[in-house]
């Protein structure tokens, strides 16, 4: 049943599939290029006329100094070491809190509840709504619940727990989708072979859902690292090296915001910090993907 315009629409679609990523890549590389241009300027040695070996060593030394020293002059000098530590701790708390709740809820919704049950639908809908709560409201909520009510005050713990609330919908929905994608025939086969539910979940469903879980985890990590407004009111502004989870610690995104929007002359360091954040992101994503696939799948990811 050949339709007269089938051919050009198909060609248009094929073209679109190539044009779309080109547009996306173009825009993002534009942004990244701008970031690089402004950010690297902060690291370059003073008299960098010719890019020779000495300048390269100086550049490397500047970068290392930036990563290992404390901020000075309200962040316009010195480095971001305490901020990196705080950010890492906040992220760790967030993932540690969100993963069990996320996976558990997703498992419950996909394995132990009928598809159209009222409870399941209610939970899903409310999670979708949760995904739309503005980050600043999360910040104020976290401040009221964790900082004041639970007495944690401005602390990395408060920040991490608030972020966990924020990434929960993302984790749960993606995990549930991944679990549901495992064909039901496999569960039937397992039941027929005498598997308990525990074994079905841990030996059959989880390993096959691993790639989807990775996507959810990476999105969650990305969202957590990118968050600013929620952390201002919970983990705070203090740029000292944190001594414990109950200390206030400044996250990298807040540092970038403060330097670019609040402190005069903080631009160069703001961009440099943004570059560091991006490198950090690449490393963390790689680690997340590797460890998830290792744990669940026992093999490297295939594209």
């Amino acid at each position: 049943m050949a339709r007269p315009d089938a051919r050009w629409s198909a060609r248009a679609l094929e073209a679109a599939v190539w044009i779309a990523p080109a547009i996306v890549a173009g825009m993002f590389l534009w942004l990244l290029g701008d970031l690089l241009a402004r950010g690297v300027a902060a690291f370059l040695p003073r008299e960098a006329d010719a890019f020779d070996f000495g300048a390269a060593i100086e550049l490397g030394r500047n970068i290392v100094a930036f990563l290992t020293s404390a901020p000075e002059r309200a962040g316009r000098g010195g480095g971001i070491a305490p901020i990196l530590v705080s950010t890492g701790l906040i992220l760790a708390v967030c993932i540690a809190a969100a993963l069990p709740f996320g996976l558990g809820t997703a498992l419950f919704l996909s394995e132990f509840v009928p598809l159209r049950s009222r409870f399941g639908t209610l939970v899903r809908r409310s999670l979708d709504v949760l995904a739309g709560v503005p980050s600043i409201v999360f910040g104020l909520f976290g401040n009221a619940l964790f900082c004041r009510l639970l007495g944690l005050r401005f602390s990395i713990l408060s920040g991490g727990l608030t972020l966990a609330c924020m990434v929960l919908p993302l984790l749960i929905r993606t995990a549930e989708e991944s679990f549901r994608a495992v064909p039901i025939s496999q569960r039937h086969a397992a039941a027929a072979a005498g598997f308990s539910q525990w074994s079905t979940v841990f030996r059959i469903v989880l390993p096959q859902a691993a790639p989807g879980l990775v996507a959810g985890l990476i999105l969650g990590i990305g969202r957590a690292l990118a968050e600013t407004a929620a952390l201002i009111f919970t983990s705070g502004y203090v740029d000292r090296m944190p001594g414990s989870l109950l200390d206030s610690g400044r996250a990298l995104s807040i540092h970038i915001y403060d330097l670019s929007m609040n402190v005069p002359g903080g631009n160069a360091h703001a961009y440099a910090s943004a570059l560091v954040l991006i490198v950090l992101l690449v490393l963390i994503n790689a680690a997340a993907r590797w460890s998830t696939m290792r744990l669940l799948h026992g093999q490297e990811r295939r594209a």
Partner: protein
Amino acid sequence: MPFPRLASIVLSIALASLIAAAGCAPGGSAGEALRRGTRITLTGSSTVAPLMSEIGKRFERRHPGVRVDVQTGGSSRGVADVRDGLAEIGMISRDLAADEADLHAFVIARDGVCVILHAENPVASLTNEQVAGIYTGRIDDWSDVGGPDAPVTVVNKAEGRSTLEVFTAYFAIDPREIRADIVIGDNEQGIKTIAGNRHAIGYVSIGAAEYGREHGVPIKLLPIDGVEASVRRVADGTFPLSRRLHLVTASPPRGLVQELIDFAQSLEVHDVVEELSFVPTP
């Protein structure tokens, strides 16, 4: 027999209370000890925060064992937290309001407010009436004030900011009459906005504008009533538009809090104040 539904609901409530208990315990005893002796918390204006953060670091070096924690959240949060006892000191970027007379305020710096244009805008100065006219929409083209033939892009600050209040009070503009094209929050956002638009006009902190201009940002500061807009003019009191940055406490300060406030007002931190483009109090 299936796991009773009731039992798992109970379990979830138990889990939630467990987290709550875990949160309360360290916050209770250890937090108390810290708060009583060795930690001073300041919250409030994000304009004052970088300043107090640096002053706090110097103070910590002089008093080992003391921690000065600076948080942001805005001037109103500073006032609220001081009243609720969640912070020892509040930071505000304005004077105390009428309903805040029960608090104690201490000036730590001054900051001027000036009108800025893009550096390539040929207009060199504006009278007060012209500024008011531009902001209320009566004048909407640069050619009406001796500039190029182009519409004016008016940049205003968001409601409630102290710079807005200072500006509208001086130029006798009713905030509700302002016809803005762009509304901004922080000074740096204003500076970046105007630097990117050749026909924009706005008002920001003098220190931030001066710093930007000295470091190559394409903006220029307009004189007001004939007085050059510079930090020096604010320092010698001749510049008409200024606001004062304060530290506030709920009760008369004592002990370490008193020492910190005194330190913040002392000559020893004048270089920190100037480095952040504010004017130290005499």
